[in-house]
């Protein structure tokens, strides 16, 4: 009687382990993301500051044409006064001022000028990155019916995180395998679910010219922009890792002391 339940569970375990062996090339599931090495991985991970600045440049010059970054304010880019950013306050002020944000009503109560164009003003650090399109319908019209997603949380909003975003960016537009039909108006991307992606290949060698002189290969640009987007999704990562280290040390110390106290209390009872 003892053997039967054991035997049943053993059989079940064997059957499940066999599943890993049978493989067939299935184009309905995307290829698992490339495994990229990130400076912010691991318990002591930090964002590479130079990479963040380059990545921001890639976002600003390439991606922001279609993708909004609604949840990031200019002042978030600052590293002063305990900020989690990677520019000085002066640089942040200049970056903000280089953007045009929608202006409130003027003294006459108008929100558009004589031509019907919405009024704008230069940005200040308190402003958020203005979206490339005023609303979802305009965004879809400009992009063949597909909505380019906002990128503020994209790394946390996708299974595979930074590796996934990196993979679909570099994998976009590669030659499809023989016989694979790419849908009209879309591009082949083996890392994207369904393998047909609406976004045209966003990056190429020297899409931007890095101000720090780094060689702007496609892989470098992708690595930098994904570092920036990872920061945008998780600006508090460095603070979290820093505090976490102190907490772990304290908890190990406290657990050790509580263990010794417990043993001391129970000394005569064991």
């Amino acid at each position: 009687m003892n053997a039967l339940p054991l035997g049943l569970s053993l059989a079940a375990l064997l059957a499940f382990s066999g599943s890993a062996l049978a493989q067939s090339v299935d184009t309905s599931e995307p290829v698992p993301p490339k495994h990229e090495s990130w400076s912010f991985n691991g318990p002591f991970g930090m964002y590479d500051r130079a990479s963040l600045q380059r990545g921001f440049q890639v976002y600003k010059e390439v991606c922001s044409a279609c993708h909004s970054l609604d949840r990031v304010a200019f002042h978030d880019l600052s590293d002063e006064n305990g900020g989690d950013g990677f520019f000085t306050d002066a640089q942040v002020k200049a970056i903000a001022a280089s953007y045009k944000v929608p202006a409130g009503p003027n003294d006459k109560g108008e929100t558009v000028d004589a031509n019907g164009t919405p009024l704008t003003r230069p940005g200040i650090p308190a402003d958020y990155f203005p979206p490339p399109f005023p609303n979802e319908e305009a965004a879809r019209t400009a992009n063949g019916g597909t909505l380019p997603p906002d990128l503020s949380l994209i790394v946390k909003a996708r299974d595979g995180g930074s590796d996934y975003v990196y993979s679909i960016v570099v994998g976009d537009g590669m030659t499809p395998p023989h016989g694979f039909k790419v849908i009209e108006g879309k591009y082949f991307d083996s890392y994207f679910p369904g393998r047909n992606i609406s976004m045209p290949p966003p990056l190429a060698d020297n899409s931007v010219t890095y101000s720090d002189g780094t060689n702007a290969t496609k892989a470098q640009e992708a690595h930098d922009v994904v570092t920036f987007l990872s920061w945008a999704s998780e600006p508090k990562l460095e603070q979290r890792h820093r505090i976490g280290f102190g907490v772990m040390v304290f908890m190990i110390l406290l657990s050790g002391l509580l263990f010794l106290s417990y043993r001391r209390v129970w000394k005569d009872e064991h």
């Binding site: 304010a73 002042h75 978030d76 006064n81 900020g83 200040i124 650090p125 308190a126 102190g246 304290f250 908890m251 110390l253 406290l254 002391l257 509580l258 010794l260 106290s261 001391r264 005569d268 009872e269």
Partner: protein
């Protein structure tokens, strides 16, 4: 039965004391985030400092900006208003202090201590009595007897340097921390 006489009381007590101390310190560190989260957020702090464009303000006109949730008066005084303010005897003022965040606390309420440039008066537009917004006095529509402001809530009257002259308000209108970035731009806060 085990004999429970203390073998070495000092060693036994030390472990409990050390554990208690580490636990107490951990609790204090753990409590801080729960207290600090109620402090103003970074979004609020981003608006703690504003830049105001004063190029369109006419002589004798007041423009109101919003700073840290309060009205901020920027008034371009006429030569007559400046002269009137300078002529006041400080010893007759209900509040003799300048109340200017750019100066030491004990600075007296002379006209010069109430602004950076005499032509431009920058004041926090909150009546020092109970917080209403005073109404500015203009030649077309005088408010109060001193040519400055009248607070309609309880009748406090301020002069052309924003100093309290009559009524229940105990202090002069506050001068916020500010500076001129250029002739037409102020930075407040």
């Amino acid at each position: 039965m085990a004999d429970t006489t203390a073998l070495e009381p000092t060693r036994r007590d030390f472990i409990y004391i050390a554990t208690g101390a580490v636990a107490a310190v951990s609790a204090a560190f753990a409590a801080w985030p729960f207290i600090d989260q109620m402090n103003p957020t970074s979004a609020v702090l981003a608006m703690a400092s504003i830049e105001a464009d004063i190029s369109a303000v006419q002589l004798g006109q007041q423009v109101v900006f919003k700073w840290r949730g309060h009205p901020l008066f920027v008034r371009r005084r006429t030569p007559a208003e400046i002269a009137e303010s300078k002529a006041v005897d400080i010893s007759t003022l209900p509040d003799p202090l300048a109340r200017n965040a750019n100066l030491p606390d004990n600075a007296p309420a002379t006209d010069a201590n109430r602004e950076i440039k005499p032509e431009w008066l920058v004041l926090v537009g909150v009546c020092t009595h109970l917080g209403c917004t005073p109404t500015v006095s203009t030649p077309q529509s005088p408010q109060g007897e001193y040519g400055g402001w009248l607070c309609h809530c309880h009748g406090s009257q301020y002069d052309t340097a924003g100093r309290i002259r009559k009524g229940p308000a105990p202090q002069n209108l506050a001068v916020p921390p500010y500076s001129f970035i250029s002739d037409t731009k102020l930075k407040i806060g």
